[in-house]
Symmetry: C2
């Protein structure tokens, strides 16, 4: 019987990306969404640590993650508030803010927090550029406007497996998996 791991998320896309990497290793990923307060801070790690603190008395073994897109010329906006910004001004808003902006550098960041009696943090980053227009319909969120270094395509033009090779979440998940295997 494969070992179960609970992934705290309401996001089906994130769950699928994690399944794609974790299930082949003999684990069984379970999605749960108990809800937890996400605090306002400029640090993904703080959000995750606060979430763990909130849930650790209710669940035995679980992990959660928080991700954000940090755009250099916009002082790291939308950052920790990427989800909210996406649901309000969306990719259209970001492209408008970036009009006539030469420096299009951006970083996608993920922080994973795993709890099994003590908290452990894993991070992943993906540097890249903001595209001039949306491209592709894979993925979710800012994927159609983000081109990772080393590729000509946006995340929106990649299937899960290809995206995971480059992506912030893919990298964070890989170091998490490394840890799980040795645990």
């Amino acid at each position: 019987m494969s070992k179960e791991i609970v992934f705290i998320t309401s996001n089906e896309n994130k769950f699928r990306e994690a399944e794609n990497l974790i299930n082949p290793l003999g684990f069984k990923l379970i999605q749960k969404n108990p809800g937890y307060p996400e605090i306002q801070t400029s640090s993904l790690e703080e959000v995750v640590r606060y979430g763990i603190k909130y849930l650790k008395d209710r669940l035995d073994i679980f992990f959660m993650e928080d991700s954000g897109l940090f755009i250099k010329s916009l002082n790291n906006f939308p950052g920790v508030y990427s989800k909210y910004v996406f649901t309000t001004i969306g990719n259209e808003g970001i492209l408008k803010l970036m009009e006539k902006t030469e420096n299009r550098n951006a970083v996608f960041r993920t922080v994973i927090g795993f709890y099994d009696g003590k908290a452990k943090i894993f991070k992943g980053e993906c540097e890249g550029k903001i595209a001039n227009e949306t491209k592709g319909d894979h993925g979710f969120g800012y994927d159609p406007i983000f081109i990772p270094y080393g590729s000509e395509k946006t995340f929106g033009e990649m299937k899960t497996e290809e995206k995971n090779q480059y992506s912030h979440r893919g990298k964070a998940l890989k170091s998490f998996i490394q840890y799980l295997k040795q645990r």
Copy 2:
């Protein structure tokens, strides 16, 4: 001796606006900034209620407030995240997002939470429009781009006393003061 009231805020401008209304009534406003987690939500009231819950075991009598600018054509962006958005993309970013946008309606909202053994909420709203350019150097934050209904001037062009007549925070403070007087 005048009665002391603690206002939890790190914002000198907000403190001054409150002083302007509260001190003449025989209260003495004290500023404290113990810090509390602001949660990510789309509701100012939730932020304030969470803050009260966090601080109520540490302080006896206090109030705090949260305010935001809700722009209709931007799906209420920047809303609860007004402070963060201001410090990253600023008024320049908002004006860029609003370029060529005809519907410039917006609402400033304040929620005050008062605690003296039980929590009590007071609200204030100010409807208006987003200006086409920044104007004035009074106030703070989005004041130079917000024109309240009934005026031709932005909040940035008004002194504290005039702003308090129109403003969301002024209105919330007035109903809070009404309550304090009858308490």
